[in-house]
Symmetry: D2
Subunit: 362 residues, 4 copies
């Protein structure tokens, strides 16, 4: 159950960092949707290692192969299986890790849970697992474009440590974000953020930050009351990503400082539509989209892999020290931007199909 | 699907604020667990209106009736149905609401989604829905006590607006929290918080804040990799509560300011067990509990119901003004404390049973 | 998980034969469907004890109370909770059963599974559990009538022991079936079947038989390939009923005697529609309805409760003898007819909504 | 949702008859189970075409590749992905089928459901889809052997048309079944059945029959009351297989001819265990295994593909005739035997793990 996500547009991921490969099955995709393999590959390229000078230099081309569910580029309504082979395997580089628990990684907890764990690399806990999510979301994106054109999902680096980007969620464009390798939305912060990442990497250290994500032109009425509220499913989606520590929507934690009189979003009729004059709700009320822009933020901790020696224990229960070495992302956020977009897209697509089951969407 | 939560210990809630009643079915409860009806009632009393001078004065006794699943106070393994009748119904008080969308409530979005909504009160979006969750969690609590004694789940009011409680998660006790009507964990903040709530209520306004929750003595190994990570399920559980806007675990958003070297939790053998020297992970690594204390925070926005006139629109699409009147909680946090505990307990119980399916828990 | 059925139109039943009551929650019901409580009660009356001289004389009025999900007789889209109180409880009559396993009942297996079982009556294994299914199906029926008018679901007693009714599935009417207390579709078999039941009851014995069910005017395209084939879900639905031992659709077991040349259903265009000239497929091909009449049969074993002394064992593991006494149905089939219809209706409604999620239904 | 099966031991299949390949993801497999790839391949070889002179001569080696979830032949607890490449693709042979609906195949219904279908071969409706099931069951088999050794699952051809095998379910062995290419359990029927299949194939025709399956040494207590009764899940599993038309367990349809006094299974203590003197229940009572031998039968219709010209219609709605040609199985039963065993094994494994979640299994 743990590797499945969604209720109607449902994905199942598989694969460890080392082994035959990683991938995903998409079940519940509507038929007769044109799916571009180039679009899938494009999204995978946005998340892959080695894409720029500030991410891990590992060479992984991450080429997607679609095994089923498509015919002449159109969905059949059957499960779409996508596989990406593992290629750059250097198990030798991880020998030490097999015996020692890397601090703030999942090595120890996998052992605690299963009594066994992948001997090299992060196994299932590796960020490579997100390949399946990104590939599935690239398909979901095309479902949205077909069934309800105009929905936009855009994420950007909001902050790295205390470096904070000023971004207008209503006007930010994909072009702006993709024009810089750090994927921030504020041109003024591009250089400071890149410099910070390079400096911290030189020091063998790592940093985290916050990714902000906007969903524009989402129709009102998506999200299910009670447990599958739209924000609840978004929160789960984001906290299911490696290295995330927090989620907030709309006014978020800072909204707790306001009074109700300050915080409430007044309704007004504008251009014949029910609109809110402010958007502290973040586009969702009572778990259901209200047609306003959905805006949320996700906290990513600093990368656990660092180039320092660290105190740890062996799987045999001996105190020891772990040497810092290998290749790592000093900051995962640039590569996490497309992953955040992917999870948001999967949540939206699932809820769009769920809503269709109970009534047509205007 | 939207009113069900959990995979093995699975609950289904029902009921609107007005109508016959609210309640829950618990499916998947292990057999031969002694369940005390008093314990269920005790938890319902902690969340019910009218319990103190700082919560809404509505009189709702919220008496639970158990319809099935128990025999002589012991679970049969069959579904446990619990019903709480609605009694204090004054539909007249809500006539205006039937026609006008209350700002930052779910009135408009329910209409957008369903083309119909409960004519009086919040219907399904009412906080009364949480009665079913709290009753189910009181049963879950007794399952935990029976299958894995010693797990503690404690929540408290961490902040109201900028008033911040200093609380040691390792030593805080239920007695301390329950000894004050605001349910904070810091004796020094009891009076300031109560005064703040009273003052804001006198002004017809409302406030929000942050609830912090600790899980102590959680065994290592709970939580499922990938989508059902323990923190992901906790995040979903919390964001499924009315009025919540954010969730963070361990170092949370402030952890994004640290470097990896500062943030990593070194492992050490202590008393023959694998322990971490710090706990920025918040007790969960890779989605799986590591045996350390689990600590998370939930942001609650200020109550949307206020005693001021507010701009809004009618369900017919006319601009109008909503009068402030009726009864309300100027601050939901004291009553939300047991609800946060309830959701955390449900998540834990479900994951404990899920783990038993794949292997025994030490 | 075990008391839930359906994926989109999803029901959760609860309740033992003795205790507060039995019932159901329906989740996923579309909004704005007019639901008649009388229709629900009508279906419950068709399945209740004491309805005629050939069923058990137990007095159970089985009055349904709807606790939630409706407003002025119209669905809100929220969970619909329906409760039927248990009234005719005579636990004393069952004292012997508490200690001795009734042959071919579920007493022993519940003990084997749970280490505990309901001390009186069948507990969760009682046919009373089907009340929740019938009530839910009465709602589902009204969903079908609203979203896709014209679908007919009719069941009748096909045989009791070797007494076999000749019925034309294309023309049989509800009036014919309901005009006789045995609910067979063949007027010529009414008296023989009634006489058989009365004779076997006088002897303290019991009989079984076959119920046949037809679904007319089902749109083509319902049912999901692979595991949730329409016939697979129907088979599961029927075998989930107490006392059922077999299911066959279309040509069924006797179709295994034919060759492919005899068995295949040729396609022809008739009145502009794709039709089959024969219907050995039983209205379903590849798990998906083809627009022809769906026809299936369900085998019910003779009632396990008989008025004879029987060899058995006690729950303490001693050989003993069980006295035959109490009230029983000498033949469950007349009361099972509405239950078979109910389960078929639930399967259809769920698949209709599932299909809407992926594409509009013509 | 439609390509997933099981609740805890959960499989997801994918793949069409033509395209990259077919396969399965197994989620929820316990960790530290030794899995033999040879065993997987052995089961695939039992179901593959070209294995004997009485099955289709198509050359498909069906070699399984395991992409994830194993390390040094031991399960990690993570999803196990297994892929079998499609190799023998001759789309040209199917050109006619692309335009004409093959009678009693799923061509028309897929079009009715999806508005599109696989242009060549059966697509998702092909029996090739069962490769994923068989591969997953070969893993499940090893889970059973590890967690609860001794459970046997054996199926055999019970009948082909009126040719009926006499088989003792308590003593039949895998060796007897596998010693003949028709996979019947009655040596006296081997030659008659083979001759029948050869004769019918020479005529370009096809035949069906019944497969019987026994589960021996199943522990008491498996199966979930109400909807997920063990026989209900078996029925669904079997009716989800291509070409199946019926399912019966224990006394089945013929049990409807008996009286309760004849049909009831008396309990007796034998060797300190609760046993039944007869087994008309077929090893399951109230949906839960009682420790006796589970016995059920599955009806398979004659293969729809025949070498005769047949009346049909085109996808454009024109009456036409379909030429008989290509390669086909004149009788699917010999190859269906391992598939029936596979589905039974999957159901058992899932219920064994489900039971472990609520209590230890003795």
């Amino acid at each position: 159950m743990s590797s499945s996500f969604g209720q109607v547009f449902r994905i199942h991921t598989f694969g460890e960092s080392h082994g035959g490969g990683v991938g995903v099955i998409i079940d519940g995709c509507p038929p007769r949707i044109a799916v571009s393999q180039e679009q899938i590959q494009h999204e995978l390229d946005r998340r892959r290692p080695g894409q720029s000078e500030i991410v891990t230099p590992r060479k992984e081309l991450d080429t997607a192969e679609i095994l089923s569910g498509l015919q002449d580029g159109v969905t059949l309504g059957s499960p779409i299986a996508i596989v990406v082979r593992n290629t750059d395997q250097r198990p030798g580089a991880y020998d030490e890790m097999a015996a020692k628990y890397r601090p703030s990684h999942a090595d120890y907890t996998y052992d605690a849970k299963y009594g066994i764990r992948s001997a090299s690399g992060g196994g299932r806990a590796s960020a490579r697992e997100t390949i399946g999510r990104v590939a599935a979301a690239a398909v979901a994106r095309q479902v949205l474009d077909s069934l309800h054109p105009g929905i936009e999902v855009l994420a950007w680096v909001k902050s790295i440590q205390e470096l904070n980007a000023e971004v207008d969620p209503e006007s930010i464009t994909a072009e702006t974000i993709e024009s810089n390798i750090v994927r921030t939305g504020d041109p003024a912060m591009v250089e400071p953020m890149i410099e910070r990442i390079k400096a911290i990497r030189s020091d063998g250290n790592s940093v985290g930050g916050v990714i902000e994500c906007v969903i524009r032109n989402c129709p009102a009425g998506l999200g299910e009351p009670i447990f599958d509220k739209l924000e609840a499913d978004l929160a789960k989606a984001m906290l299911s990503l490696p290295a995330t520590k927090g989620f907030e929507i709309g006014s978020g934690f800072s909204g707790t400082l306001l009074t109700g009189r300050e915080h409430n979003d007044a309704f007004r009729m504008i251009d014949g539509k029910v609109r809110t004059l402010t958007n502290r709700s973040g586009g969702i009320q009572g778990g259901i989209s209200n047609g306003e822009t959905i805006l949320f933020r996700v906290a990513f901790k600093p990368t656990a892999t660092i180039m320092s020696n660290q105190e740890t224990v062996t799987s045999d229960g001996e105190n020891t020290e772990l040497q810092g070495r290998g290749r790592h992302d000093a900051c995962v956020l640039p590569r996490a931007v497309p992953i955040v977009e992917a999870m948001a897209t999967l949540v939206l697509t699932d809820h769009l199909l769920r809503q269709r089951a109970i009534q047509p969407i205007s």
